[in-house]
Symmetry: C2
Subunit: 199 residues, 2 copies
């Protein structure tokens, strides 16, 4: 793969580089990848069309760069918050809550990551498989600790990612009602995970 970006060298260039990224995040979110032209991005960033290609070899490479940024960001944020908790229950609660808060604060992130399924399927698969693998490792450890019951942790990791993602979707797109009280939503999730659904 060709290099994704050409690093800006000077202070001014770094600034231009960042403005391109910020405009792109905003426009990809609002109008989607295909609904956003390179000229839209450069106009929004207040630069000439050609300047774009000083830093990114193509529109796709910019998209990939943004995806990788988000991916790092999510992992770092969640890992930092989760590591402060000790019990598996608290770790799980914190992981779910961190993700939903992140999604709520950066709705762009959410949309852009999912869209990768329609831009570069391999990228999407990679993203979720590596996310799942980290999850599985944590769950396996908790099974050893006897904090979690003996259960297929691979399937469980997709179950938990599914819950978190759809709750995030609900909050970000404001599906249904009551999307402001994140703590209540997380409580419901934890209640179900702890006690099950049935009487």
């Amino acid at each position: 793969m060709k290099t994704l970006i050409k690093e800006p060298l000077t202070r001014n260039a770094k600034n231009t580089f960042n403005m391109i990224i910020e405009s792109a995040i905003d426009l990809f979110y609002k109008n989607g990848y295909h609904g956003t032209t390179v000229n839209n991005i450069t106009q929004d960033a207040g630069i000439a069309a050609g300047t774009f290609y000083l830093y990114f070899p193509s529109k796709l490479s910019l998209y990939k760069h943004i995806l990788i940024m988000f991916s790092h960001n999510i992992r770092k944020t969640i890992a930092a918050n989760v590591s402060e908790k000790t019990s598996r229950y608290e770790k799980e609660r914190e992981g779910i809550k961190s993700f939903i808060m992140l999604a709520k604060e950066n709705p762009q992130m959410y949309n852009i990551i999912w869209e990768s399924l329609y831009i570069d399927r391999a990228l999407f698969k990679d993203y979720y498989e590596s996310f799942a693998n980290r999850y599985i490792r944590g769950l396996d450890q908790s099974v050893s600790n006897k904090e979690i019951r003996e259960i297929d942790t691979e399937v469980v990791s997709y179950i938990l990612m599914g819950i978190t993602n759809f709750i995030g979707l609900k909050v970000v797109l404001n599906l249904g009602k009551n999307n402001d009280d994140i703590d209540h939503i997380v409580d419901v999730v934890m209640d179900l995970i702890k006690h099950g659904l049935f009487t």
Copy 2:
């Protein structure tokens, strides 16, 4: 909204109409909506480009028509299978399994529905909100029956949709391992929903 389609009248025309839809489903799945041209579709269907516009006023209207077809199909299939079961537990199991089997057999369905988020956000919101509303109604009834604990059924409906969708995603995209034994996967889901995750 302009009408989505112009109904074909004769036997031959119905055939042409169906070939357009089949080719489109296949190509939208393989290359995405934006990666598929109307000429791709007509070539695959073995007809002239102009013929397309006898039945669909635009590429988007074809996409919407397909989405509505799938939506009906999913609801009808799941509703039929679920109605054969009596207990909430069995209904839930059947609903999850039916969806995953459907997704496995029609991986196109899956991809095309999610892509609506990037083609027409209102369509996507509509799809999931109305799906959730049906789910909520069923859950509320089971709460009345005392088959399900007192719990926020709206949040629960998104939790369950999230689980089903991500498990479906895993199976369809073959994420991770062990994606052939659907019964085992459904067992894990039901185990978690019944007994919770923790010791």
